[in-house]
C-alpha cells in the first residue's frame, strides 16, 4: 500500500502529463470530422513523435540541471545530413543512418565536452554551438532538397499491421533501447544525481563527468533520431533556422508540461513524451474548432499559457511559504 503511494509520488509529473494529453486528445478526436481512425492517429503520431524525440533529448540534458538550446539545430543538421546520406541500397541506407546517428551523438558529445571540461554554462554554450550546427547545416544544404530511401521512409511513417502507427512503434522502441537502460544505469543515476545536487554527487563519488557526458551525447543522439525522422517524413532536408528554434522552444515547453523540473534531478523522458504529444495536440485543436484564421495564433498561445499555469494549482496546497523558494 505505501509502496504504491511512493510509486505515484515518484511519477506525479508523468501521470499529470498523461492526464493532460488524454483529455486534449479526447477533445481533439471526438471533434475530428473523420473520428478516431487509424489515419488520424497515424497523422497525429507522426507529428507528435518528431517533437517527442527532441523533447526526450532535451529531457536528458535538463535532468542534469543543464539546458540544450542547440537540440533544434542538431535536429535540423541531422535532417540535412540524412537527406544526403540515407538512400540507395539497403547497405548504403544503413550506413547513412549510422552516420547520421553518429553525427548527432557527436554534436551532443561536443556540447558535453565544452560544458564539462570548458566548465561553461550550458545555456550559452548551446546557443553558440547551435549557431555552429546551423552553419554546418546551411553549408550542407543551401536550399531545401535531397532525398531519402522511400521504402524505409514509408515504412517508418506508415502503419504496422495496417493500423498501428509505425512512428509510435519506433518511439516505443527508442524508449526501450535508449531511455530505460539509461534510466537504470549507473550513468543515468549519475545524471539525476548531478542535476539534483552536483556538490553532493561529487562528494558521494558519483561519476559526475561520465553521467553528464552521457546525458549530452545521448541527447544529441535522440535529436538526430528526430532529424532522421523528419527526413523520412518530408523526404528532404532543409536548413531552416526558424524550424530549429521552433523545435528547441517547443521541446522546452514539452519537457515542462511533462513534469520534468528545469532545476534538474526530477522527471522522466516518458513524461516529456506525453508533454510533447499534449503540446502537439494544442496545435491540432485548431483543426477541429472553427476559429477565425487570424485568431488562431492567439488561441494557441492562450491554451499553452493555460496549460503552463495548470502546474501552479499545487500551490494551493502549500502550507509552508518556504516551499515557494526552492
Amino acid at each position: 500500500m505505501t509502496e504504491w503511494r511512493y510509486l505515484v509520488n515518484d511519477n506525479r509529473g508523468t501521470l499529470l502529463a498523461i492526464a493532460i494529453f488524454v483529455v486534449m486528445f479526447t477533445i481533439y478526436v471526438s471533434n475530428h470530422p473523420a473520428g478516431l481512425t487509424s489515419n488520424v492517429v497515424t497523422t497525429a503520431s507522426n507529428k507528435g513523435v518528431l517533437l517527442a524525440f527532441v523533447a526526450m533529448a532535451q529531457t536528458l540534458v535538463v535532468l542534469t540541471a543543464g539546458i540544450d538550446l542547440s537540440v533544434g539545430m542538431i535536429f535540423v543538421l541531422t535532417n540535412c545530413l540524412a537527406s544526403g546520406l540515407v538512400f540507395g541500397t539497403a547497405l548504403e541506407t544503413t550506413i547513412g543512418v549510422v552516420a547520421v546517428l553518429g553525427a548527432g551523438l557527436g554534436c551532443g558529445a561536443l556540447n558535453g565536452l565544452i560544458v564539462i571540461y570548458g566548465r561553461l554554462q550550458p545555456i550559452v554554450t548551446t546557443i553558440a554551438t547551435g549557431a555552429v550546427f546551423y552553419g554546418i547545416a546551411l553549408a550542407l544544404r543551401p536550399v531545401p532538397g535531397g532525398e531519402v530511401n522511400p521504402v524505409l521512409a514509408d515504412a517508418l511513417t506508415g502503419k504496422l499491421f495496417g493500423f498501428f502507427p509505425a512512428s509510435l512503434a519506433t518511439l516505443i522502441l527508442v524508449v526501450l533501447v535508449v531511455w530505460i537502460p539509461f534510466r537504470r544505469s549507473v550513468l543515468g543515476r549519475a545524471a539525476y544525481a548531478v542535476g539534483s545536487s552536483d556538490q553532493a554527487a561529487y562528494m558521494s563519488g558519483v561519476p559526475i563527468k561520465a553521467g553528464k557526458f552521457a546525458a549530452y551525447a545521448l541527447g544529441g543522439l535522440l535529436a538526430s533520431i528526430g532529424g532522421l525522422f523528419l527526413t523520412f517524413f518530408t523526404y528532404s532536408g532543409e536548413a531552416s533556422a526558424a524550424n530549429g528554434n521552433t523545435y528547441t522552444l517547443f521541446a522546452i515547453a514539452a519537457v515542462v508540461l511533462g513534469g520534468v523540473s528545469l532545476y534538474g534531478g526530477v522527471g522522466s523522458a516518458i513524461g516529456a513524451i506525453f508533454g510533447a504529444l499534449a503540446f502537439r495536440t494544442i496545435g491540432d485543436l485548431l483543426f477541429v474548432f472553427d476559429l477565425e484564421p487570424l485568431w488562431q495564433p492567439l488561441f494557441q498561445g492562450v491554451v499553452l499559457f493555460a496549460a503552463v499555469c495548470l502546474g501552479s494549482l499545487r500551490l494551493i496546497q502549500v502550507r509552508n511559504r518556504l516551499e515557494y523558494f526552492r
Binding site: Q121, G135, Q296
Partner: protein, 326 residues
C-alpha cells in the same frame, strides 16, 4: 588581530574591483576591431564606430532588462514579441492625432510592462519556471499582434518623437539612441548598486529563501523585475520602430539570443546573483560588432554562423571557467 580587521574594513572600496570578464570583453572588442581593420580600414572610422554604437543601443536597452532578469537567476524568452508589441503599439497609438503622438512612447512601453507583469506574476506568485511562462507570454503576444495587424488599424509609422529619439542628434555627432542607452544604463547602474531594490535583486538571485526570510518581499521584487524587463524590451521596440520609421511583426526576433549572449559574455552569471552593468555594455558592443563585421566581410551565412558560435565559445573559455569543486 581585531584592530587589524577594523583597519581593513574601514577602507571599504567604493569601486569594486573590475571583473576580469569585463576586461576580457573589452579586450575582445579591441581585437575584433583590429581584425576587422585588416579587411578594411573603414572599421576604425568614426562613422562606422558610431553607427555600431547606435545599433548597439537597441540591443543595449533590451539587454538591460534581460540582465536584471538573469541576475535573479531567471530568463526572459518573451523578448521577440514584447519588442514587437512595443514597436507596434506605439506606432498604432501614434495614429490617433496629436494626443496619440504624445502618448505613443509611454503607451508602447506600458504594453511591454503589462506583458512583463504577466510573466512576473507567473514566475513570482505562481512559481512557474521563467523559461516556460515567458515562452507562453511570447506566444500570446504574437497572437495578439497577428490579430492586431489583421483586424485593426494597421497604422505603423513611427511618430516624430520616436524618430528623433532613435535617429536624431542632440549633441552633434552622438546619435540620440546612444544617449538614450546611456540614460537607461545610468539608471540601471544606480538602481542595481544604490537602491534597496537593486540589493534585493542580487540577494534574491543568490538565495531567494534567505531574502524572503530577511523580510524582503521577494515575490513582489521578482514581479517588478519582469515588468521592468518587459518595459525595457518594449522600449527597445519603440526605438527600433523609430529607427526604421515603422514597426513590423518580426522586428524582435533577432534580439533574443544576442541579448542573452551579450549579458553572459559580460560576465553576468546565468545562475543569478552576480554581474555588473559594465560587463553587459561590453557584451552588447561585442555581439553587435561581431555580427556587423561578419556581415560586412561578405562571409556566406553558413560560415558566418559557424564563426559567430565559435567566437562566443572561445571567448567564454578565455574568461576562465567556472570554479572547480576542488
Amino acid at each position: 588581530m581585531s584592530s587589524d580587521h577594523l583597519s581593513q574594513t574601514s577602507r571599504v572600496p567604493m569601486f569594486r574591483r573590475i571583473d576580469p570578464a569585463v576586461l576580457i570583453a573589452f579586450g575582445c572588442i579591441v581585437a575584433l576591431l583590429l581584425v576587422g581593420s585588416l579587411y578594411s580600414s573603414s572599421f576604425l572610422s568614426p562613422e562606422y564606430l558610431l553607427q555600431q554604437l547606435k545599433v548597439a543601443s537597441f540591443l543595449g536597452v533590451i539587454a538591460t532588462g534581460m540582465m536584471m532578469v538573469i541576475l535573479l537567476g531567471h530568463i526572459d524568452l518573451s523578448v521577440p514579441w514584447v519588442v514587437a508589441v512595443g514597436g507596434m503599439m506605439s506606432t498604432a497609438m501614434a495614429a490617433y492625432g496629436p494626443l496619440g503622438e504624445a502618448l505613443a512612447i509611454p503607451f508602447g512601453v506600458l504594453c511591454g510592462v503589462i506583458l512583463g507583469l504577466v510573466s512576473g506574476i507567473g514566475v513570482a506568485y505562481l512559481r512557474i519556471p521563467s523559461m516556460i511562462i515567458t515562452l507562453a507570454v511570447n506566444a500570446v503576444a504574437q497572437g495578439l499582434m497577428v490579430v492586431h495587424t489583421g483586424g485593426f488599424s494597421p497604422q505603423d509609422a513611427a511618430s516624430g518623437a520616436m524618430r528623433y529619439l532613435a535617429t536624431g542628434f542632440i549633441i552633434p555627432g552622438v546619435p540620440n539612441a546612444v544617449l538614450v542607452w546611456g540614460v537607461v544604463g545610468a539608471v540601471a547602474v544606480f538602481v542595481l548598486t544604490r537602491t534597496t531594490f537593486g540589493r534585493s535583486i542580487y540577494g534574491i538571485g543568490n538565495q531567494e529563501r534567505a531574502a524572503y526570510l530577511s523580510g524582503i518581499d521577494a515575490r513582489r521584487a521578482v514581479m517588478l523585475v519582469f515588468a521592468t524587463a518587459g518595459g525595457l524590451s518594449a522600449f527597445g521596440g519603440v526605438l527600433l520602430a523609430g529607427y526604421a520609421s515603422k514597426a513590423a511583426q518580426a522586428m524582435g526576433d533577432p534580439y533574443l539570443l544576442p541579448a542573452i549572449a551579450a549579458v553572459v559574455l559580460g560576465g553576468t552569471s546565468i545562475l543569478g546573483g552576480r554581474g555588473t552593468y559594465l560587463g553587459t555594455v561590453a557584451g552588447v558592443i561585442l555581439i553587435t560588432l561581431l555580427q556587423s563585421i561578419l556581415s560586412v566581410m561578405q562571409m556566406p551565412e553558413a560560415g558566418r554562423q559557424i564563426i559567430y558560435g565559435a567566437v562566443i565559445v572561445a571567448m567564454l573559455l578565455l574568461y576562465g571557467r567556472e570554479k572547480l569543486l576542488r
